[in-house]
Amino acid sequence: MNSNSAISIQNLVKSFPVGGDFFIALKDLNIQLLKKEFMGLVGPSGSGKTTLLNIIGGLDAPTSGKVSVMGKHLDNTSHSERAKLRRKHMGFIFQSYNLLPVYSVYENIELPLILNKVDPNKREKKVKEAIEWVGLSHRVNSRPAMLSGGECQRTAIARAIVHQPALILADEPTANLDAENSHQIMKIMLQLNNELDTSFVFATHDEKIMSYLSRIIHLEDGKIIKDEKIK
């Protein structure tokens, strides 16, 4: 595996039991993602984007094949080792934000730092930095229910980047947003990609964000039909 590689996937197969049979969601995938890449997994619903993202994030296990993330082989690691990998080196952004409803913007963003046992003084500094990156300084004490969709997603981004992970996995991050908010969100992520050297993997079928990606892997029926690098 290349030392500059963030993700290495070899002969990945994922199948799910459906009735008495198996549905094959991912078929023999091979992908190498370099550090600092800004890559999109693009395809229609059911093409396997989210499944692939979940496997990369260690939230789901492959049926066969090898997956390495940040140099760690996921196929022979325990639940807690995968949890540690996510906690230390990954950030997640979800289509429906998945913000904790009883926490304020500040507390939602602070959560990964608490999980990583970051010292309270450093924590405050990092949360404030993340809030500034996403432009939510005026909303720190608001709860998610009081925020617009764009503000929720910016909070989710701040939560994903606050501990400066090496890899961010974003599942349809703009699906619930209007065009203006989608562009803003993508600009923020692109800026973070440049400033923090964070690798990004998006699962999306949103045409609006394609132009921001440096690499697009097209998936259809669980297979890679095209891997295009964009300059």
């Binding site: 639940h79 949890a83 906690r87 913000l99 009883v102 926490y103 959560l111 939560r159």
Partner: protein, 391 residues
């Protein structure tokens, strides 16, 4: 870390948390209050017996058996000298017991006559009313229950018939000089109280007594001869036996209340896990291990119990205090039913009751919080994130 997140989750949930805490707190209150009421009832029964009948204990004539009135005939003599000295020093008082019949309003009724020293101050009986210089009638003190049963009022006269030491039947008029209010049915129902000297004359048993009740907290005399010392523990053994027989009822009540509290918490925990599936998925995605998520939910249950304890102290503390002072008045008099129950039930709280209840409830809450939380450990993070449960 978990504590901080747990506190945030609990306090952040606002009204939902406080409702759960309130319900648990009500259970806390009910368990403590009902147990204290029960303890109060039992303690009261014991205390009334000690205050109105037992004092520090008694020396019995060797033939005396209070459960067998036939023994009364032979259960009398002059007490041993050391016991007599106690009487002279006002550290004890004598009682002479005998059977008799009374004829109130033309009816015949068997009673137990108890001759008591009118000036005694060791038990809480209004015996001073028996002090009279008039020897033409027998002054009699009875309880409210006996008065009701015999239809006698203060000042009423009735015929009294007894067998004296010479096996001769005698009779004279008795006058009710006072009707006492007492919660102790054992000194009320079927009992009439007379001045001991009067009774000794009537029975032709000068200076003879059946038992001698002594003051609280004094040691036994060295030489009580063949008389039998009976301490408080022995004299309240019937009460203890009733309490012991009643113990399963108390346990059932305690367990029932505990189960109610546990079901409430279990229910809220199960609901919480179903409602918070996405949150659980998010915690897992952010890198929290399953064990930690289970611990977090269990801890939240434990914190719920802790807040409930605080709420119990703040909200129900004054209620505990109020009833601890003023009690709960009972609508009926239970002494007619042969029960020593106060007219006002006063709960008796003890540190032990508070601590044991807190420990038992906290333990129960932790268990019922943990059981539904275990479902989390079987949950797939991907399903949890989508708000699905696959267990």
């Amino acid at each position: 870390m978990l504590l901080k997140i747990g506190i945030k989750n609990l306090l952040g949930a606002g009204l939902r948390t406080w409702l759960n805490v309130f319900v648990t707190s009500v259970s806390f209150f009910m368990i403590i209050f009902m147990s204290a009421l029960y303890d109060g009832m039992r303690e009261h029964a014991k205390q009334v017996s000690i205050d109105t009948e037992i004092a520090g204990g008694a020396y019995w004539h060797p033939n005396y058996d209070p459960m067998d009135p036939m023994t009364f005939e032979d259960a009398h003599s002059k007490p041993p000298s050391e016991i007599n000295k106690l009487i002279d020093d006002n550290e004890a008082f004598p009682v002479l017991v005998s059977q008799a019949s009374i004829y109130p309003n033309g009816r015949m009724m068997p009673v137990i006559m108890r001759g008591i020293e009118p000036n005694q101050e060791l038990i809480n009986l209004p015996t001073k009313v028996l002090n009279t210089q008039n020897n033409s009638y027998i002054p009699v003190l009875i309880g409210r229950g006996m008065a009701k049963y015999t239809n006698l009022k203060e000042g009423d006269t009735f015929m009294l018939r007894w067998l004296d030491a010479n096996k001769t039947y005698d009779a004279n008029d008795g006058v009710i000089v006072h009707i006492m209010d007492t919660e102790n049915f054992k000194i009320d129902m079927g009992q009439i109280w007379l001045p001991i000297k009067h009774l000794q004359q009537m029975l032709n048993m000068p200076k003879e007594v059946t038992y001698v009740t002594y003051k609280k907290k004094i040691p036994l005399v060295d030489n009580y001869e063949d008389w039998v010392p009976k301490d408080v523990k022995y004299l309240i053994r019937d009460m203890e036996a009733i309490i012991e027989a009643d113990e399963p009822n108390a346990v059932v009540m305690y367990i029932t209340l505990l189960i109610l509290a546990a079901i409430g918490i279990f229910n809220s925990q199960v609901l919480s896990i179903f409602r918070r599936r996405k949150e659980i998925g998010t915690f897992m995605a952010l890198g929290m291990t399953r064990t930690k998520v289970v611990s977090l939910f269990t801890l939240e249950g434990g914190l719920n119990a802790f807040l409930a304890m605080l709420m119990t102290i703040i909200i129900f503390g004054p209620v505990f205090w109020y009833f601890g002072i003023y009690g709960i008045p009972l609508p009926i008099d239970y002494s007619d039913m042969g029960l020593i129950i106060a007219k006002s039930l006063i709960p008796v709280y003890s540190i032990g009751l508070f601590i044991s209840t807190a420990i038992i409830i906290a333990g129960t809450v932790l268990i019922v919080s943990y059981l539904p939380s275990r479902k989390i450990s079987k949950m797939k993070p991907t399903d949890a994130l989508r708000g699905k449960i696959t267990v």
